[in-house]
């Protein structure tokens, strides 16, 4: 009996060693361990074993069973692993096939810039306000130190509705509303549409400005410069430098044109900036004391600065848009490029 068990064990090991698939393994499991299996046959023949040997033989059979079982289980794990691996190696998608999620649309480049400007200014403590686009002459001109029949009116061709109502030619009109209603210190920005009777390759009759105004007790040209450096760096990159050139706007004094490092060449000089390394981006200045006084702010106590970039131009510079008209034609092929 003992010998038979040992022989069985030996044979079982050999047979298992050559088994290399799950189905034959299952057959072996039945053959060795099943109800009609060889080990069960050993157990059945226990009745012929002398009583004193029964515990020993019993132990032997159990041990052999345990051993075979372990071997089979181990082999089963290995074979299953192998099957899975084979299966995985066959299951392979073309990961370059298109996605099944519907494609997203996109925000217009103009408004992407607007949103960036707004967020940056809100972070810097500015309140966003809006104002009417159809406006009284007073707010668009007179309260900004441009009386009726002033030569500065020639700086912009204004659409008029009536003698004293017009399509605002600048978002600066919102400055006046703010100064009338808010108590200093305050900081406002106002994004919006503006209108001028001008239409060619670089001018659109409908265009967009982003007005900024700060009124406080200790505001200087340096604050203007540092604020604009921060704003333009957000748009064009960390190393953006800002410089001033003298200019004239009736509502600021001193008035400046603001240039920033050309975003295309980083200041080295290129075709876009005509070799200067700088790009003219916006007008700004210190609020003219006359303007403060007209809106009831004590110009001896308070100073302020104002700035007003054309956002269409900023969007064109940021996205290297070659033609202003593309911005308003809204060709899907144009908008798709900005995704």
């Amino acid at each position: 009996m003992e010998k038979k068990i040992t022989e069985f064990l030996e044979k079982a090991k050999q047979e298992l060693a050559t088994c290399n698939a799950l189905k034959p393994l299952n057959d072996l499991r039945v053959k060795f361990l099943g109800k009609q299996g060889e080990l069960t046959a050993f157990l059945r023949s226990m009745k012929d074993v002398p009583n004193e040997d029964k515990p020993k033989i019993g132990q032997l059979i159990n041990k052999a069973r345990q051993e075979v079982e372990e071997k089979i289980n181990e082999l089963q794990r290995k074979l299953e692993e192998k099957v899975l691996e084979e299966k995985l190696s066959r299951q392979k998608v073309d990961i370059t096939e298109p996605s099944k999620v519907p494609e997203k649309g996109e925000i217009h480049p103009l408004h992407k810039v607007f949103d960036k400007l707004i967020d940056c200014c809100v972070e810097m403590g500015f309140t966003v306000v809006t104002g009417p686009e159809i406006e009284y002459d007073y707010y668009n001109f007179e309260a900004l130190n441009v009386p009726k029949d002033h030569p500065a009116r020639d700086m912009q061709d204004t659409f008029f509705i009536s003698d004293n109502i017009l399509m605002r030619s600048q978002t600066s009109s919102v400055q006046v509303h703010a100064m009338e209603t808010m108590k200093p210190p305050f900081r406002i920005v106002s994004p919006g549409r503006t209108y001028r009777a001008d239409s060619d390759a670089t001018h659109s009759p409908v265009f967009h400005q982003f007005e900024g105004l700060v009124v406080d007790e200790n505001i200087s040209m340096i604050d203007l410069k540092s604020m604009l450096t921060n704003l333009l760096s957000m748009l064009f990159g960390e190393n953006t430098k800002v410089r001033f050139r003298p200019s004239y706007f009736p509502f600021t004094e001193p008035s400046v044109e603001v240039d920033a490092t050309c975003p295309s060449c980083g200041g080295k000089g290129c075709k876009l900036c005509k070799g200067t390394g700088f790009m003219e981006l916006l007008g700004a200045g210190m609020v003219n004391p006359k303007v403060l006084e007209m809106s009831g702010i004590d110009s001896k106590k308070y100073t302020g600065f104002a700035f007003g970039p054309g956002v269409d131009r900023l969007a064109m510079v940021v996205n290297k848009i070659p033609d202003l008209r593309m911005m308003f034609e809204n060709d899907i092929k144009f908008l798709e490029q900005l995704k």
């Binding site: 996109e106 009536s162 040209m221 340096i222 308003f328 060709d331 908008l335």
Partner: protein, 798 residues
């Protein structure tokens, strides 16, 4: 403003290069837009004298000329007809690049050498020439062969196109720019000696002046010249005028133009014999008066227009343009000169009204100061004297009440430096201001300035701050770096409610595949017809622009639809398809027309889809999602928007306020036709102001039941008119407090069901908070649902 280097040098020594000068001017506020070298096309062109002309042996139309070009005699072959032996002509030599693009090189013509070319005025870019314009330019006999042509023609000047800002009318003159140059370079202004001699006659024997409206004409100066000899001005004067773009005419007219450019003082010359009553009356025009002026048009004048009149009526529209009748003509013998100051706004208004703008207007409307006429008159008379153009009578009539005086103003250095953010040393401040002709001194914080009459722009601390910094140089800020607004008070930033809402909705629409468009808010008048808007609709009344740039852009939109439809149609025309667009913008609804108060400007979101996968219910789902953040109950009604399909559209109405928040649906087939849109075009709009006014949704979350949800599906047959909303409402009510949810999952129609019938299949869910529902309980609910449906709506189980 055009100035020239040589002309500036009459007033101030300049030892910097033209480029450097341009940079100095630009960096101090007078931007030089262009530098033009007059001799740009005249290099390697010299004066030549034709010594001998022979027929070319090999060509019938060519002649061979021996030409003295100073350094040698050279051979030039020409086809020109107007050359002759002894003629002085411009000769372009090898290397010359002429104005018409021709590059000159030595060459052979039919076997003979030709070392250059004779030039026409076109090839040299000459405009002031009396001879034959097509042929070779024949020069004055006294010119020496070999002289550079630029010198010979007095075309060796450098021209600067300066962009003078509206606050600096004083810089609309050579002397004004010269003052700036002097301040920038530290070279003093040269004294001008405006000498002239007069005869013994008195001006009052020739003319009298009466100013009726001194407000519009604070100063009028006049004097007379007799025995005037009208002739061409000398070459140097003509050359100056040509350089600044003014056509020379005759000495008297040229003098007025010369003074206009040099001193910025517009002058006028009358023919004395046509001054009725020998009188000049400065007054407003009377109703019914008109005047034929030098541009050959006749203008009706009104009572707001200032005129220079004689005893008979208007002779000149003041400061703008002279009448033909009293102007200088060939037989003019006696001249009256005018040098005056007019109120700028009045000139600008009149100029706009009649649509005439001249060099005089350009100066008067910016402001000619009351001191200016005196210098202008002196310079004009000085030129008359130098040019021997006539005899000047004694005395100048001057109507000014009191001589204009410099203003003594006091400023605060601290406030100036507070604006600038930097301190400038006192010495430097004084130096800058004194160089600008503003005599200044400092006492502690106080800055005392004696501001010249011509600097009327200087009034407050900020004005002085600008004078200082533009001369000191804005470059000082280049190296200053501080944290933004570090010296300012702390303020808290805040978004605008409507803009923020718009932004959220926009990004959500992008998720649905929509692209943002930016359309014009101005449009044409026919929009209301194309959109089927009827006269009772408030969208019908569009605000009209008084001075539109084109018919297409003459009105302000009252609906977002037009711009959107045009954009969609444009895209379709360009073979784009299946796209979706939205726009955020305003519509402008007038309270009444014509506009007397500002209109309502309403912030709107519009969207449009020509995606074939979309239909009414896709759009409905998007709309529901856009509106979901707000606490309001709304109902859907068939839309009243005229441009939507009446049966496949909906208005979203706030039940509490009855305010329409949004509309959407299929575009009306007629509108599709009008705009060339496909039949299945879907459009929607949201009133952002109305939406933003709603309360944001709040939530109170219920505990979740531990017991299972059971579902049942039912299909009923009902009348076509029974809405899904009614069915679901009925089911909900029947389920009572066991109701968890219900939704329709299939609707179908068939002949079998019959006409005007449909089958609606829906699923509803039941749940109890107390127990697991038994089959009995569930079946009771199902029975009740069916019974109630039949009782209330007539629907039966299918």
């Amino acid at each position: 403003m055009i100035v020239t280097l040589n002309w500036l040098k009459d007033f101030v020594d300049i030892d910097v290069s033209p480029e450097k000068l341009a940079e100095l001017l630009t960096n101090s506020g007078n931007e030089v837009e262009e530098i033009i070298y007059q001799d740009k096309y005249l290099k390697n062109v010299v004066v030549g004298k034709i010594l001998k002309i022979e027929q070319h042996p090999n060509a019938e139309k060519l002649v061979v000329c021996q030409v003295d070009i100073g350094t040698k005699v050279t051979q030039i072959i020409t086809a020109a007809k107007n050359v002759f032996e002894g003629a002085i002509v411009p000769v372009s030599l090898a290397g010359a690049n002429l104005a018409n693009g021709i590059h000159i090189e030595d060459s052979k013509l039919r076997g003979l050498d030709s070392f250059g070319m004779f030039c026409s005025i076109e090839e040299l870019g000459v405009t002031d020439y009396d001879g034959e314009k097509d042929g070779i330019m024949i020069l004055d006999n006294d010119l020496v062969p070999g002289t550079e042509i630029a010198k010979a023609l007095m075309m060796d000047d450098v021209i600067f196109d300066v962009n003078v800002t509206a606050n600096r009318p004083d810089c609309m003159s050579i002397i004004g720019i010269a003052r700036e140059v002097s301040a920038l370079t530290g070279k003093p202004l040269k004294e001008q000696n405006l000498y002239y001699e007069t005869n013994n006659e008195n001006v009052s024997d020739y003319v009298s002046v009466e100013v009726e409206n001194t407000e519009l004409c604070p100063r009028y100066m006049a004097t007379a010249l007799k025995d005037v000899k009208l002739e061409k001005s000398p070459k140097w004067l003509r050359a100056r005028l040509v350089a600044v773009g003014i056509k020379p005419i005759c000495n008297i007219v040229d003098i007025t133009n010369y003074v206009l450019m040099e001193y910025g003082q517009p002058m006028h010359a009358f023919d004395h014999k046509y001054l009725g009553g020998k009188k000049i009356i400065v007054r407003n025009a009377k109703k019914g008066e008109s005047l034929k002026v030098l541009n050959q048009n006749t203008y009706d004048l009104d009572e707001k227009m200032l005129c220079i009149c004689d005893a008979n009526g208007p002779s000149v529209i003041a400061g703008i343009i002279g009448g033909t009748y009293s102007s200088i003509q060939e037989d003019t013998k006696t001249v009256v000169f005018e040098s005056a100051a007019f109120e700028r706004a009045s000139i600008r208004r009149t100029s706009r009204r009649i649509g005439v703008r001249t060099d005089s207007t350009a100066r008067f409307e910016k402001g000619v100061d009351v001191g200016s006429p005196e210098y202008g008159m002196k310079r004009a008379l000085n030129l008359v004297y130098e040019l021997k153009a006539g005899t000047i009578v004694s005395g100048v009539i001057d109507t000014v009440k009191e001589q204009p005086k410099n203003r003594d103003l006091e400023f605060s250095l601290n406030r100036i430096f507070k604006l600038l953010g930097i301190r400038v040393e006192n010495d430097k401040v004084l130096n800058i201001l004194n160089n600008l002709g503003i005599k200044s001194k400092i006492d502690g914080d106080k800055l005392f300035c004696n501001v010249p009459v011509f600097r009327s722009d200087i009034e407050n601390d900020a004005d002085i701050a600008e004078e200082i910094i533009r001369m000191y140089g804005y470059g000082v800020y280049d190296s200053i770096e501080t944290a933004p607004l570090s010296s300012a008070s702390v303020t808290v930033g805040k978004h605008d409610k409507v803009l923020l809402l718009a932004r959220n909705l926009k990004y959500e629409l992008c998720d649905y595949g929509y692209f943002e468009a930016v359309n014009f808010s101005i449009c044409s008048d026919d929009v209301k017809d194309k959109l089927l808007i009827n006269p009772e609709d408030k969208m019908y009344n569009m605000i009209k622009i008084a001075n539109p740039i084109s018919e297409d852009l003459g009105y302000v939109r009252t609906s977002m639809a037009n711009g959107m439809f045009l954009t969609v149609a444009r895209n379709l025309a360009r073979k784009n398809s299946g796209f979706k667009l939205f726009e955020v913008g305003r519509v402008y609804i007038p309270k009444s027309l014509p506009l007397t108060e500002l209109p309502d400007e309403i912030n709107m979101l519009s969207l449009c889809s020509v995606d074939p996968k979309d239909d009414f219910f896709v759009l409905k789902g998007i709309m529901e999602n856009l509106l979901r953040d707000f606490e309001f109950e709304y109902k859907l009604e068939y839309s009243k928007l005229p441009y939507l399909h009446p049966g496949i559209s909906a208005d979203v109405i706030d039940i509490n306020t009855n305010v329409k928040v949004a509309s959407f649906g299929q575009v009306h087939p007629k509108v599709c036709k009008n705009f060339d849109l496909p039949e299945k075009t879907f459009y929607g709009e949201v009133n952002l102001d109305a939406l933003a006014a709603l309360k944001e949704k709040t939530h109170s979350v219920k505990a979740l039941s531990k017991f299972p949800i059971v579902e049942r599906d039912l299909a009923i047959v009902c009348d076509e008119s029974l809405t899904v909303d009614t069915i679901i409402g009925c089911v909900k009510k029947s389920c009572g407090n066991l109701y968890y949810g219900a939704k329709v999952f299939d609707i179908y129609r068939s002949a079998e069901l019959g006409e005007n019938k449909k089958s609606v299949a829906f699923n509803f869910q039941l749940q109890s908070y107390d127990k697991t529902l038994t089959d009995d309980e569930i079946n009771q609910v199902v029975k009740k649902v069916l019974k109630d449906l039949q009782y209330k709506t007539g629907a039966v189980l299918r």
